[in-house]
Symmetry: C2
Subunit: 359 residues, 2 copies
């Protein structure tokens, strides 16, 4: 039984403007190291899953740049979505594709743009998750043991054990909660048994196909029928885009995970971050003189608690605090750090003003 990784690389990451652009989405950025986030994701599973068994699902506009960036992954392992339709159609495409290639497979589904601090620990747990998913016919999700009452993550409640594999408990995932307000997040932490929803899943291909058919037939059936009729998941196939465009945009959490009775959670303690916006860098990278400074040329004088990113541009800061400063050759962002979530408003404004070259 082969293990596969499906890397979901559909996002655009407007909150990382001006580094992220339409032509250079977040997962292709070197935000945290010399490697783009998606390369880090591929490298992270490599000891368990070779590049030949890694599938990348991304917007078809990015296919060329993705393939260029990840030459070790076979060309036919990239699936281009004609448009964003959230994660259920993405998972369904990959599951149907793997179903025809290798029906008796186990797949892990990983977002392309997350950060994991302790990679060895993650690999150990991923191995266990792959084994557990194969043995126990479960939809396995990684629930991250929360380190603080984060309001930027969804939570999963899980207390009761379903099974144990290699000494790791597989808990019954009983409730999925949206991003909570601060007070509720604190309550979750006080109660215990609440975990951050990492959006990383492991399951047999045959099981997720069953569950998709049961809970989101509107998503899976058109895809399965299209494939059955010989359709290819490719822009060259004239039927693909029109089929895909009609699929409902439903997340896999909402579509399947919250409904299925076979959802299990294993506890992740490997240091995880979804790298959601510029302020996340502070949770991931080490501070230097009280600031997070990335890029060749940053100069900080009397400045504290800033996140400063210079992409081929010298950034000099003088007497500033609690800001995000990001400079590229043609655009600069200066934002209060606690407004980092709202950087997408800048991008919306640029779109309104049709300043397309900055999008």
């Amino acid at each position: 039984m082969h293990n596969y990784a499906v890397i979901m690389a559909g996002g655009s990451g407007t909150r990382f403007w001006p580094m992220s652009r339409q032509s250079r989405p977040k997962q292709l950025l070197r935000l945290l190291s010399e490697q783009p986030l998606i390369q880090e994701t591929v490298d992270r599973v490599r000891p368990l899953i070779p590049p030949s068994r890694v599938l990348i699902v991304c917007n078809h506009a990015y296919l060329d740049s993705m393939r260029a960036m990840l030459p070790e992954i076979p060309k036919e392992n990239f699936i281009g979505e004609p448009m964003g339709r959230n994660t259920s159609p993405c998972v369904a495409l990959a599951a149907v594709e793997l179903g025809r290639r290798d029906p008796d497979s186990v797949m892990c589904v990983l977002p392309a743009d997350h950060h994991i601090h302790n990679v060895a620990r993650f690999q150990k747990l991923l191995e266990t998750a792959l084994k557990g998913a194969a043995q126990a016919q479960l939809l396995v999700t990684f629930g991250i043991i929360p380190s603080k009452p984060h309001t930027g993550y969804g939570y999963i409640y899980a207390a009761e054990s379903m099974t144990t594999v290699d000494g790791v408990g597989f808990l019954r995932a009983e409730r999925f909660m949206e991003k909570p307000p601060r007070s509720m997040a604190e309550e979750y932490l006080n109660q215990g048994n609440h975990y951050w929803n990492s959006g990383m899943f492991v399951w047999r291909t045959s099981l997720i196909l069953d569950e998709l058919r049961q809970y989101v037939p509107d998503v899976i059936n058109p895809i399965a029928e299209f494939a059955q009729a010989g359709g290819r998941f490719h822009a060259d196939d004239p039927g693909f885009e029109s089929m895909f465009a009609r699929l409902p945009a439903i997340s896999i959490d909402y579509g399947v995970m919250e409904k299925s009775r076979r959802v299990s959670l294993i506890r992740g303690d490997f240091g995880w971050n979804d790298v959601g916006s510029w302020d996340a860098l502070e949770e991931i990278l080490p501070a230097d003189g009280g600031n997070i400074a990335v890029g060749e040329g940053t100069m900080l004088l009397d400045s504290r608690r800033n996140i400063v990113y210079g992409d081929g541009v010298l950034v000099a800061c003088l007497g500033i605090e609690d800001l995000v400063v990001v400079a590229t050759g043609d655009a600069v962002l200066v934002a209060r750090k606690d407004r980092a979530q709202d950087v997408r408003q800048v991008v919306e404004k640029l779109r309104e003003k049709q300043l397309n070259k900055y999008l």
Copy 2:
């Protein structure tokens, strides 16, 4: 009797980094309008003094760019200083040069990089100053009626009238004061009869030559003797640099104005600013939505009281207050507004680190 303007363009303006660079000093920047500051200065005196009678004194390194920027000024009217030696040698060079060209002339000495709001009013008073200087044998200085207890300017005390021309009083300038602390500046304003030292002067060429000989012979004599012997104020003349290098670096205020008994002040009420650092833009330019925004591409969301300058670069601000943000294609400055004076520290740091391409 001809009137001449001597425009002192010797500064480098490191406080306007990253717009100002070694190769592009402040007076060549388009900080306040579509015109570089030095062009504004030339245009401001044009109704009274044609470009053919404007002398520009600048560092010899800038001669080519100055000439290119001001093609209407004859080539021989540019004098290149081999190095900065403060304003006494600068004035002395110009005075000796004018003394040989047109001994019976009146000269006004103007910094290249100041801003004047009410140009018509300035022209009217300059006309009066030129007339008064010619008639009354006075060293005339413009004292600006202070609008607030500014601590960035020197002050001049003047109360008693020396003469009146065209209804304008020429007061005796009795005391020159350095930039005061806040409390003293407030005291000056309470007392009245204190004016900002604008550094703009008007006098007969013959009179300033006399006064230079009397008060700063170390400055004027070497220059006069060099000229007498047929030397030219030009880098091609092998003796010029070594003569100039030995001159003491003394300001004209300290060297002559504070000592001469013939110094008179006329009150300037034309809205003047020495454009000393980025925060000065706030005193000069109109605010737009609570911010000063210059450059084609600036986008301010929920931001107040900032000075934002984008030079061919889009600058987006989100939720920020009281900052200076200046972006060029290769360098960005983000500074707290009340630290605008300290931008030179950034330049010093760049010099220390030998990051010469940003200097």
